[in-house]
Amino acid sequence: MSASGSADLLIEGVGKRFGDVVALDHVSLQVAQGELLTILGPSGSGKTTLLKVVAGFETPDAGRVTVGGVEITALPPAKRDIGMVFQNYALFPHLSVAANVAFPLEMRNVAKPEIERRVAEALAMVELKGYEARLPRQLSGGQQQRVALARAIVFNPRLLLLDEPFGALDRKLRETMQLEVRRLQRRLGLTTIFITHDQEEALVLSDRIAVMNRGTIQQIATTTEIYERPANDFVADFVGESNIFHGTMSAPGMVVLDGGRALQVRSDKPAGAKVGVLMRPERFAPSGANAFSGEVIESVYLGTSFKLRLACEGGPELLVRQPARGALPAAGARVTVGIEPESIHVF
């Protein structure tokens, strides 16, 4: 992944400011041919600006964007051959489903019979056969999204950009559409950038995730890497539920948290190093090498699991998830949990 030869989309040192606000601070990343990279970040993190730079709606102050070895930094959007699904789909309200999907082909002067064939093909791919004559407003949210997707892929674009496309859908439909988009993207082998602020969605869809905050990329890694081995507090906190502490390595394999509590960990950081410690709530077991006992402050039944907030003696407050078996521990109850050294991530 590091060799630029395998990169289909290459973003190098892209910077953009709006007045005093730095939207993008020299962002660099690569996306391999056929890969789905998610840019995950809170609103205002610069992820949308980055997408606009790639699509050509925003001109960067610095840096370059290359697709398949060809620089596109200065090209207008119309010349970029990039399919994009907008947040609210941006379907043409006055055009039928078929005319919406035919639009990019007409703009490329494709012959009429060929247009008809490819529109039918694209609509079949998103399972909208029979909806050709409908207008966008006669469709449900999920169907509108399929039209937007068909319109974005019908002209065999070099890249596919998805700008928070699932935000407007209800939960169930969102999950269906996520899997469908994923299936379609794999089948077509389309290099894809997906923008979202929803970390769950990012984990479901992506090959790799780039976590952004304040205009910089905090970490780019595979989904498991991001979840299991986040690079810093921000990533650890933003992706998934977490218990994050800070401390100092007292010896190899031993951390003393700032509160004084010592933990056995797996880390080759040298003694004296300042470190962050991440313990995912679901990694706690009834017992383990590092034991915590404390009083339940809050307990929630979540169907498959219990979510407990523990106040531990002489130390930290912990968020713990346990498989839902037996009775839900009530507030005030004393509970002991443990965590193995290999389940603790030190960064």
Binding site: A55, G56, P77, A78, N88, L91, F92, P93, P104
Partner: protein
């Protein structure tokens, strides 16, 4: 209308009845003086008066056309530019609207006359040797009316363009559309209702326009409202003026009703 909603509207209804409906009925009465349709026969039968109607129609059409030609780009620009320039645009569009038509028309007389600002500038610059006749003719009336009626075109178009979600033209650009294609395939069809509303407004207002054609036409450009005024004030032929007014009223209503029907079928087709 429910009984409760009726009462608060009463003063307005009385006002409309006394100052609008009653005079119209009275006018229709005048036009039928003597119990004959002779005055209508004269208005619609004589070549001279038909020419005036045709003239009015033609001027209204041209005014609408030029207002559209000037108004669309302006309304479009105001709707798509930064808030600052949009405000500047609004001031320039609305300021004339708040100024009396009479004042604006006299201002045009100063500009367009034989010794007016335009002609003097042109001659001093050596572009023309003789003054171009721009006042008391068709050109003058056209210029003045377009100026006076332009806001009525700009505002509906501005509103229509504003209603277009900016993501839609952006999406079109991303899909490969040139600026011209974005205008023709996206903006134009999506702002058709604004174009239509503005055109109907300007056309209908043009049909009955009086002050500007009277002053800038100098009696040589005969529009129907000017003719009516002459019949009342100079010829003292009230029944004939009333018949002309009635014909104009019916014609205006017809245009308006046609426009309504068209917009309704447009809306239904879009639904």
């Amino acid at each position: 209308m429910t009984g409760r909603g009726f009462l608060p509207a009463l003063p307005a209804l009385i006002l409309l009845f006394v100052f609008f409906l009653f005079p119209v009925v009275r006018m229709l009465g005048f036009s039928l003086e003597g119990g004959t349709l002779d005055w209508y026969a004269k208005a619609l039968g004589e070549q001279l008066y038909l020419r005036v109607f045709w003239n009015t129609f033609e001027i209204a059409l041209l005014v609408t056309f030029f207002c559209l030609l000037l108004g669309y780009p302006l309304g479009f620009l105001m709707a798509t530019t930064t808030p600052f320039w949009a405000t500047v645009g609004f001031i320039f569009v609305l300021l004339p609207l708040w100024t009396s038509v009479l004042v604006r028309t006299y201002a045009w007389m100063v500009l367009l006359g034989r010794n007016g600002v335009f002609n003097r500038t042109l001659m001093e610059a050596g572009i023309t040797t003789d003054p171009i006749p721009m006042l008391h003719n068709f050109t003058g009336v056209l210029i003045g009316m377009v100026h006076v009626l332009l806001p009525y075109m700009v505002l509906p178009i501005y509103g229509a363009v504003r209603k277009v979600d900016p993501a839609i033209p952006a999406a079109a650009a991303g899909l490969g559309a040139s600026s011209f294609a974005i205008f023709r395939r996206i903006y134009l069809p999506l702002t058709l209702n604004g174009i239509f509303a503005g055109s109907v407004l300007v056309f209908v207002l043009s049909l009955g326009f009086f002050i500007t054609p009277a002053l800038l036409g100098g009696g040589r450009v005969m529009m129907i409202a000017v003719l009516i005024e002459q019949q009342v004030r100079e010829a003292l032929n009230w029944p004939f003026a009333a018949a002309l007014s009635a014909v104009l009223l019916v014609f205006t209503f017809a245009v308006y009703a046609m426009a309504q029907r068209f917009t309704r079928s447009e809306a239904e087709a879009a639904r």
